[in-house]
Symmetry: C2
Subunit: 195 residues, 2 copies
C-alpha cells in the first residue's frame, strides 16, 4: 500500500463506521479469498471496539468468515461504486473469477489472516465473537476490531476530512437498485470543539 495507509488508534476506530457507510467484507479460508458488499454493518462498542455485520446465509464470504473466524470491514470510495455494486450482486459460487472480474485487488498486513481490499479509505481487521444464536437466527455477526487503518487523505487525528480531499474518496451509502449516495458536507455544531 501507499504512504497514505496509516494505523488508526483502536479507541478511535468506531469513528470509521459512525457515519454509516456501506462497506466491503473480505475474508479468507482454506486458500479461498472473497469479498462482498454490505450495507448493514454498524459500530457496537468503543474500546475495545466491536461491530455488527449482517451476512446472509447465501453469501459465500460468510462461509469463509465462519471457517476462519476473521473478517475485514473496509470502506469503498465513490471511485469504487461499480466494484462495490458488482461484488454485492455476484456470487463466487456462480462466478469463480468474481474478484478479478470486479477489479478487486487484495493485499495483506503481516500478522493478520484476512485480506484487505486495495484503494478503500479505511479498514477494520476483526475477529469474530462467536454468538451462534445471533448468527443462526438473524444472520448477525459480532466481531472485535483488533486493528484499524485509514487513508490519511480523508481520515486524520480521529476525524474524517472528506471535504478537503478528492470527491472520488468520499464514502458510499447504499439505498437499493444500484442507487448510492456519497457522503456530503460537514455540519458542525457551534461551540463544539472537535475531540
Amino acid at each position: 500500500m501507499n504512504t497514505y495507509f496509516q494505523p488508526v488508534a483502536l479507541n478511535k476506530a468506531y469513528r470509521l463506521l459512525n457515519h454509516g457507510p456501506t462497506v466491503l467484507v473480505s475474508a479468507s479460508h482454506a486458500g479461498v479469498d472473497n469479498v462482498m458488499a454490505a450495507a448493514w454493518a454498524c459500530a457496537l462498542d468503543f474500546d475495545p471496539p466491536k461491530l455488527t455485520v449482517v451476512l446472509d446465509k447465501s453469501a459465500h464470504t460468510r462461509q469463509l468468515v465462519e471457517g476462519s473466524g476473521w473478517l475485514v470491514i473496509q470502506l469503498p470510495t465513490v471511485a469504487q461504486a461499480r466494484l462495490t455494486h458488482q461484488v454485492g450482486t455476484q456470487s463466487l459460487a456462480d462466478q469463480p473469477d468474481k474478484l478479478a472480474h470486479s477489479g478487486v485487488q487484495l493485499f495483506r498486513v503481516e500478522g493478520y489472516p484476512a485480506p484487505l481490499v486495495s484503494d478503500c479509505s479505511a479498514w477494520l481487521m476483526c475477529r469474530v465473537i462467536e454468538e451462534p444464536h445471533n448468527q443462526t437466527t438473524y444472520d448477525l455477526f459480532i466481531a472485535e476490531v483488533v486493528a484499524a487503518w485509514a487513508d490519511t487523505r480523508v481520515f486524520q487525528a480521529g476525524h474524517w476530512h472528506f471535504e478537503q480531499a478528492d470527491p472520488a474518496l468520499r464514502s458510499l451509502h447504499y439505498v437499493a437498485g444500484g442507487h448510492f449516495y456519497a457522503i456530503g458536507e460537514p455540519v458542525v455544531i457551534d461551540g463544539q470543539a472537535k475531540e
Copy 2:
C-alpha cells in the same frame, strides 16, 4: 403532522436506514416520554423488517424501551443538528425539561404506544424482540418494524430524493465531538434501473 407525512410500505422500510443515518430514538413508559440520539442503528432484515440499535445502560430512554417494549427510530434532518446533538448529550435524569430545552416536539399515531419526533424525515415504529443476552452483554436491541412513514419531499416510491429537496432536509451522519456530515450527492451505477 403535515401532508408530507405518508406511510412507507414495510418491504421498503429498510431503505430508510440503509444509507446509515444517525437517528433519534423515542419511547414512552408510565407517562414519561424521552428521546435520545443514536449513531448505532442498523437494518437487520427486509420483510418483515427488523433493525438493531445500541442503547447504553446509562440512557434513560433505554428504561422506557425496556418498560414498554416499543421504540421509534426516526431520522433527524440537517435543520435538527443542534437538537440531535442536545438530546444525544443531555440526560433526562439531570435535566427534567430536556425535551423542551432541546426543542423536541412529539406527536402520536393512533394505535401505537411510542411517540414520534416532529419534523424528522422518516419514522420506524418498532416492537422490541426480547433478546436478554444481547441487551445485557452488548447493549444491543433487536426490534421489528411494524409501521413506517416518511416525508414525501425526500422519500417517495421506495427511494430517497435528497437532491431534489431543500438541503435542510438531508440526513445527518455523526462522527464525534459535534461533527456531523450531511448526506451528499447521488451515485448511480450505469445500466441499473431503480426498483
